[in-house]
Symmetry: C2
Subunit: 106 residues, 2 copies
């Protein structure tokens, strides 16, 4: 199992709405994430909009490719894109560059 | 179980040494962490030194207080303090301010 951590930046003027949307993620989106191997997946938000994602998966590349192949992900990412800063034209899910794990204690 | 995420900043000129130290954390320190309820604990490092901590624990305040009461933690934190930026006089473990979890999928 890989442990994956990535960072994104939510626009400071959209934080409340971002929180609200993520308290009510579409059931179809949750189903797709589970079905493509996204486990124990959390998003943490700092007051300034820095967003930390953490998940566990057998293979992050496969998990991303799996979501990429779903219609619901395209719809969700299109709605989420305006919430993020400086993605350089990439969708949020395309900007999820994993950090390097330097320590782990089971 | 609480899922906890915190951020710290490692000095850019100490990244290699930080990685090396965390590839060989003292067994006594690992034992103390486990014994005080730090589970599934990972540290992730971005190239610029941003450090993300993630752990699961019954009670983060209790887990921190438990480590605080150990001698090994005082020795470890004293050795780690010079690796971090702008802790304003606080030890790294005292600067672990948790972020807010805004989404979770089991």
């Amino acid at each position: 199992m890989q442990r994956v951590c990535f960072l994104l930046k939510v626009r400071a003027d959209r934080l409340d709405e971002y929180r609200e949307r993520h308290a009510a993620v579409w059931p179809e989106m949750l189903h797709a994430l589970k079905g493509t191997g996204w486990h124990n997946y959390s998003l943490f938000l700092r007051e300034d909009g820095l967003l930390v994602g953490y998940l566990e998966t057998e293979d992050f590349d496969a998990a991303r490719a799996g979501m990429e192949a779903t219609d619901v992900n395209a719809r969700w990412q299109a709605e989420m894109a305006p919430f993020f800063e400086t993605l350089d034209g990439a969708r949020p899910d395309e900007a999820m560059k994993p950090l390097t794990e330097v320590f782990h204690l089971a």
